[in-house]
């Protein structure tokens, strides 16, 4: 499994590592003052939880994670918090950032701490939180909070865990020394991560210039049960770059703009795994790390375990620095590290190396010659870019072209600058271009934002106006109606005290409603005024308006209710009235219909308007009829109430959905723009989604409670639903087409679009479901329809699965890197199909219960083959050892082979057992699995044949085409049926 691949380019700078590996890792002195920055990781700075003057113990939390992407910060030693202020921190820009300054007491007293007894028993989320609370962030590169990466298993299928032990930068030996001395911790840390991510394969990549570390790792790895390979690769810079390492170990390229998890890979640094070990097993938070002190200005270069927050000068002193020789102070490696100007800045969680270089060692760069287009830079670029072209574009500020030449794929490894014979500081140019482009884009976004805001405001104002108008009309109509009712009442029942006693109330209510309306209007005007002038206090005004709106509505409602209240008091009359109403409405409807007809035939008049009128009339008629029916059957108004509620819920639901969509869109753009807020936004989207889901659930339950209401309006609703569904289908198709184009052109956005299409598809299906649900009660044969729908779904899905599988096979055979992902997709589809089967079975009881036990035969099979390969490898090694008669190795290898044999057997047994159960199960049902398999294969062959025949027939335009096609369909059905049966038993 340890096949090696290679990445393009790379350089071989002098390693300069031997000087720091002579001495074992020393413990650095505790400084008098620790300077602990709040932001040592990528993401939000942590929030301070101590105050000046507080006594803190070693390992005590002094700042807490703030937000999704953040970690805790702990006191590295015991002492007193003496200041919380901005200090210079190790950063490429030389900036200052908030730090907690602790005056140490020299006692180094620990806070109570303790590891986990058995992390396996802990729920995953708690374990991840544990890691987060222990302040662990990536120690190799940028310092990405580790817990976030541990979550990747949630929504990605992680096949491979890659552990980065490359340490490809010259000078740095921190990881090397860590591995030499604590390989066991590293391996155990890996086990923790593997427990969380469940990868099928773990690979540790290490360069061949660290033989002792490799040996130590191999020894430690013997204990583990993981499917773990230590892959030794040739030393070439920058093999430790995440993307390069992944290419090197797996042959897969991480598509641009994606994270490794998108192709099923997660990367961790060895330092991080050791830190996880410390946290999980001993409860030690990340308060110290190994740092390499190198450079010719040091008399005693070596590795030290130093407390986070130790000022560099303390460490440099400990390494016996010669201040006169010091010319350049570099944090990190010589290829990608950055210089700092002060020795008083602290080291942080990501500080793996400090180089105190002399003038001779790292002289200032000679002045740059013009580029001679020698092309060496291109030969070494690991990202396969054209560095010299990028340099021209950056220099000429042709940023569009630079972007077009994939500037943003540059990892700033410095290989090109390193080799450039003209000494051009290429990387500096790229950084400049990148930041310029980012600024430009930010400006653009701002402008867009402003525009959108403006447009939204405009739209809102118009909407408000329209609403107001509508409300006004509504009220006028209500008043007229009330008037009519009153008249009726006066005419038909002159002696109605009840109604009269209600009247004064009615008046009072009316006044109240009017007053509140006026108030509302005033407030609205004020608000608008404030908005127009962008005044302060808008929020307050808005709140007031909202409040008033509610009040006004309440008042209006009260009034309306009171007005309607007399109705049930005189039901007989009312029914009559209602009947009349219905009749009138019907007549009007007919008239409208006629008018429309006439208009349509003559092509004159405003047909549209007529149509609208007609439909309005229709609705009115239906309502009138319904009201009449209701009243007649003694139906209470409850129905209408629940209907209203339903409507409200639906509106709520739709609003929530809109919000979700908007948030999703924002998230997408954020992802594209690599915004750091992505995580937070994701969480937001999820929250919204959850809200939406609850609303939906509520809505549905309400809907179920009021089925009569649903039926009453069903025909209209059904039409609506159908329109929705059709619209969705069109959308899906469009998206699919766009996706196809994107895939063909190899656009990196294809993945995202795919997700989009899937989402649309899901929506479409939901719409379809709803539609079907809506028609089923109409047809009063709900069960059978449901079943049929399910069956159709199943068939469609199984077709999809098959298609996906063929695509997958093609991808696999062509070695496409997307194969892994496709596999995941296929599995997902398969599981969906299984779900449907189950549902179908439940609904109709036709199909037997599918396998309850969840066994992944593919994984089993894979495990077997992995084991087999490993075993073979070990056997080969054994043989060669045999030949060479190396006794020591021999016994070791023997043991290894035995171990592997047993592992292999185990895996095989598991797989066999699985197969056996499948056969048994089939037999229990009276199906001979083998026969079934053969039948299925034959059916498939028949399909192929029929297809061919049909194709030929089509080409030759044979008469009996339909007959042949019929045959094809029959054959396909047959094959599908057999396949389905078969798929229950095999994978």
């Amino acid at each position: 499994m340890s096949t090696q691949f290679s990445f393009h380019g790379g350089v071989h700078p002098p390693e300069n590592k031997h000087r720091t590996t002579g001495l074992s890792v020393q413990t650095a002195p505790i400084p008098a003052e620790l300077v602990v920055p709040l932001s040592q990781h990528i993401g939000a700075p942590s929030e301070i939880v101590v105050a000046i003057g507080d006594k803190v113990l070693k390992g005590q939390v002094i700042a807490e994670a703030a937000g999704r992407i953040s970690v805790n910060v702990h006191a590295p030693s015991s002492g007193t918090v003496v200041a919380i202020e901005k200090r210079a921190v190790p950063h490429i820009s030389g900036m200052q950032a908030p730090c907690i300054i602790i005056e140490t007491d020299g006692e180094d007293r620990w806070i109570e701490h303790q590891g986990l007894a058995d992390y396996h028993t802990l729920p995953k989320q708690e374990l991840i939180d544990f890691v987060r609370h222990h302040g662990i962030s990536g120690m190799g590169g940028a310092g990405f909070p580790t817990d976030v990466k541990l979550h990747l298993g949630d929504d990605h299928i992680v096949n491979t865990l890659v552990i980065n032990a490359m340490e490809c930068e010259p000078y740095i030996t921190a990881d090397d020394m860590l591995l030499r001395e604590h390989s066991d911790k590293v391996i155990k840390g890996i086990e923790v991560i593997a427990h969380l991510l469940q990868p099928s394969h773990v690979m540790i990549g290490i360069e061949d210039n660290k033989p002792q570390a490799i040996r130590a790792l191999e020894l430690a790895a013997k204990e583990t049960k993981l499917n773990l390979d230590i892959v030794v690769v040739p030393t070439v810079y920058p093999s430790g770059g995440e993307k390069q390492l992944i290419k090197l170990l797996t042959g897969i390229e991480v598509p641009t703009g994606h994270i490794p998890a998108d192709v099923g890979i997660v990367c961790q640094n060895v330092g991080t795994t050791a830190a996880i070990y410390d946290a999980v097993f001993d409860g030690i938070p990340l308060i110290s790390r190994i740092v390499t002190l190198a450079g010719e200005a040091l008399a005693q270069p070596h590795n030290m375990r130093a407390l986070i927050g130790t000022p560099l000068e303390v460490l440099l002193e400990a390494a016996e620095i010669n201040q006169n020789a010091l010319y350049r102070l570099v944090i990190g490696g010589p290829m990608m590290g950055f210089t700092v100007e002060s020795q008083s800045i602290p080291m942080i969680k990501t500080t793996n190396c400090i180089i105190a270089a002399s003038y001779e060692e790292m002289p200032p760069a000679p002045p740059a010659n013009p580029c001679i287009r020698c092309g060496i830079c291109e030969q070494v670029c690991p990202a396969e870019l054209l560095p010299q072209q990028l340099h021209w574009f950056a220099k000429g500020k042709e940023f569009d072209k630079a972007k077009q030449h994939n500037l943003f794929d540059c990892i700033e490894c410095g290989a090109c600058s390193y080799v450039c014979p003209s000494n051009i500081p290429l990387v500096q140019y790229y950084r400049f271009a990148k930041s310029e482009i980012r600024n430009e884009e930010a400006e653009q976004r701002k402008a867009d934002h402003a525009r959108i805001r403006f447009e939204a405001r405009q739209a809102r104002l118009e909407q408000e106006k329209a609403d107001k108008e509508a409300r006004r009309k509504q009220r006028a109509a209500d008043a007229a109606k009330a008037q009519a009712v009153k008249k009726d009442k006066a005419a038909t029942s002159p002696d109605s005290d009840k109604a009269k006693s209600g009247e004064p109330d009615l008046k009072a209510l009316k006044t109240a409603a009017a007053v509140s309306r006026t108030k509302l209007k005033k407030a609205q005007k004020a608000l608008q005024n404030a908005q127009d002038k962008e005044l302060d206090g808008q929020d307050k005004l808005k709140a007031t308006v909202a409040e008033l709106e509610v009040k006004a509505e309440a008042a209006q409602q009260a009034f309306d209710q009171a007005q309607n209240a007399p109705a049930p008091a005189a039901p007989v009359l009312d029914i009559k009235q209602l009947k009349t109403n219905a009749a009138v409405a019907r007549t009007k409807l007919k008239q409208a219909e006629k008018a429309l007809d006439k208009a349509e035939t003559s092509g004159e008049g405003d047909i549209e308007a007529l149509r609208v009128k007609l439909s309005e009339q229709q609705a009115k008629t239906v309502a009138a009829q319904a009201a009449y029916d209701n009243a007649e059957s003694g139906g209470v108004a409850a129905n209408s109430v629940s209907n209203e509620k339903l409507e409200g819920l639906k509106a709520d639901m739709e609003a929530a959905l809109g919000k979700v969509n908007k948030a999703q869109k924002a998230l997408d753009t954020a992802i594209e723009g690599n915004s750091p807020a992505v995580e937070k936004m994701k969480a937001g989207v999820e929250k919204l989604q959850a809200k939406y889901d609850t609303l939906k659930a509520e809505y549905e339950s309400t809907q179920n409670l009021a089925p009569t209401a649903a039926v009453a309006v069903s025909s209209e609703q059904v039409a609506d639903l159908k329109a929705d569904m059709d619209g969705m289908a069109a959308k899906v198709e469009k998206a699919q087409k766009a996706l196809d184009v994107a895939v063909e052109s190899g656009s990196p956005a294809a993945e995202k679009m795919k997700a989009g299409v899937e989402k649309l598809q899901a929506k479409y299906e939901a719409a379809k479901d709803e539609y079907e649900k809506a028609i089923s009660p109409l047809n009063s044969v709900p069960l059978s329809i449901d079943l049929e729908g399910l069956k159709a779904d199943i068939e469609a899905l199984s077709g999809k699965v098959q298609k996906a599988q063929t695509a997958l096979a093609a991808a696999q055979s062509s070695g496409s890197p997307a194969a892994e992902k496709m596999k995941a997709g296929v599995e997902k589809l398969q599981s969906k199909l299984d779900d449907l089967h189950q549902e179908y079975a439940q609904a109709g009881g036709q199909l037997p219960e599918p396998e309850p036990e969840v066994i992944d035969p593919k994984a089993l099979k894979q495990q077997v083959s992995i084991m087999r390969t490993k075993l073979k490898k070990a056997q080969q090694a054994l043989e060669t050892a045999n030949e060479q008669g190396d006794a020591e190795d021999l016994s070791e290898l023997n043991a290894e082979v035995e171990r592997l044999t047993s592992l292999h057997d185990e895996a095989k047994a598991a797989f066999d057992a699985y197969e056996k159960t499948q056969v048994d199960k089939a037999a229990a049902e009276g199906i001979d699995l083998k026969q079934l398999k053969i039948d299925a294969a034959m059916a498939r062959a028949a399909v192929t044949k029929a297809e061919r025949a049909a194709k030929k027939a089509r080409e030759e335009k044979v008469e009996d085409l339909s007959g042949i096609e019929q045959q094809l369909v029959v054959a396909q059905q047959e094959a599908e049926h057999l396949n389905q049966t078969l798929s229950r038993f095999t994978d």
């Binding site: 990608m336 210089t339 010659n369 001679i372 020698c374 690991p382 390193y418």
Partner: protein, 352 residues
């Protein structure tokens, strides 16, 4: 001491443009030696004279352009240009030919375009082409290899006399004794003879061709050395020679009487010099590996076409210049596929 602040990387490979140029100069030595051995002192004198002029012109122009003098002279690029031009000129080319040539190369073709790295055309070849067009007589009278003038014993025109010949103090008639047609000339202006007849009858082909073979071998050596030292990659020379071999083979197979064999094309004239030292000039060639292959193939084919049907006997200069013209275009369409991209980008979408 104040600590300095600079951008990464903090290490730099100990190689400079000057090193690259020095290596190139070094690699021309076998060719220079072979030229001298077979054609006399003329080439060495030309080269020295050209270098002297080049440094002089470079110094002047850098001064005029108000750039640091030492810094630019130290990059050796002018020397290399002069070297290549000197090697390409006929061994007895009069001094003023060289003078005009170097002036054109350094002042016009290089500095007027913005100096090293900015020039779209190979300066030495611009100069050569201009000279060939302007002074066809002087430019086509090539020295005869010593075997033709003195038989098997090695004897060439004395150094002082050669010097005199070049600088005009010696009777031109003397020089005429030592000059004649090149093999390419002979093949081109054959007057109705079949290829085989030309080979038999024309002395420069029948007896003198060995000199060209030897010189070609020497250039090949130098080229291989440069590839070994990673000064340039194999792509361009292989493409030039490969395409030339293929196209000449095709025509030779079609009609061996009318066309010369591929080996002749690979060794006659300046093919090797062109393939290894001129087409590989990074400034004016395509950049990506695929681009270099296309660039080289273009040159190979153009060499054959111009030799076979063009007005001038040798074609390296024109072929290279024509392809120089195409290089930026080739670059646009041969961007490599970057890491993580499904496909290479083409052309200049998104940019002007």
């Amino acid at each position: 001491m104040a600590l300095i602040r600079t951008s990464s990387p903090h290490l730099h490979k100990a190689s400079s443009t000057a090193d690259v140029m020095r290596l190139v100069a070094l690699a021309t030595l076998p060719g220079l030696a072979a030229m001298t051995f077979f054609f006399g002192w003329g080439t060495i004198i030309n080269v020295m004279w050209a270098c002297l002029l080049a440094v002089g012109f470079e110094a002047c122009i850098v001064k005029i352009r108000k750039r640091p003098l030492g810094f630019y002279l130290k990059d050796y690029s002018a020397i290399v240009t002069a070297l290549l031009l000197g090697l390409a000129l006929p061994p007895f080319a009069p001094w003023w030919i060289t003078l005009v040539g170097v002036f054109v190369a350094i002042v016009i073709a290089k500095h007027l375009y913005g100096g090293l790295g900015q020039n779209p055309f190979n300066p030495a070849m611009v100069a050569y082409a201009l000279l060939l067009v302007s002074f066809p007589v002087q430019m086509t009278s090539w020295a005869e290899p010593f075997v033709l003038t003195h038989g098997d014993s090695w004897q060439v025109l004395e150094f002082t006399q050669t010097l005199g010949a070049i600088f005009g103090s010696v009777d031109p008639a003397l020089i005429d004794m030592y000059t004649g047609a090149t093999p390419l000339d002979a093949m081109r202006h054959r007057g109705g003879l079949t290829t085989e007849e030309v080979w038999r009858t024309v002395p420069v082909l029948a007896e003198g061709i060995g000199a060209w073979h030897a010189v070609s071998a020497a250039y090949l050596m130098g080229g291989v050395f440069l590839i070994y030292r990673k000064v340039f990659t194999l792509h361009t020379p292989a493409a030039v020679l490969g395409s030339l071999a293929v196209i000449s083979s095709i025509f030779y197979m079609l009609d061996p009487y009318a066309f010369a064999d591929p080996f002749f094309h690979l060794t006659a004239g300046a093919t090797m010099l062109g393939a290894f030292f001129i087409a590989t000039d990074p400034v004016t060639s395509a950049t990506s590996n695929r681009g270099k292959i296309i660039f080289g193939i273009g040159i190979g084919i153009l060499i054959y076409v111009i030799r076979g049907w063009g007005g001038y006997p040798d074609a390296i200069a024109f072929a290279v210049l024509l392809m120089n013209l195409c290089a930026p275009f080739i670059d646009q369409y041969t961007q490599p596929r970057s890491y993580g991209h499904a496909k290479a980008k083409r052309g200049m979408k998104g940019g002007a």
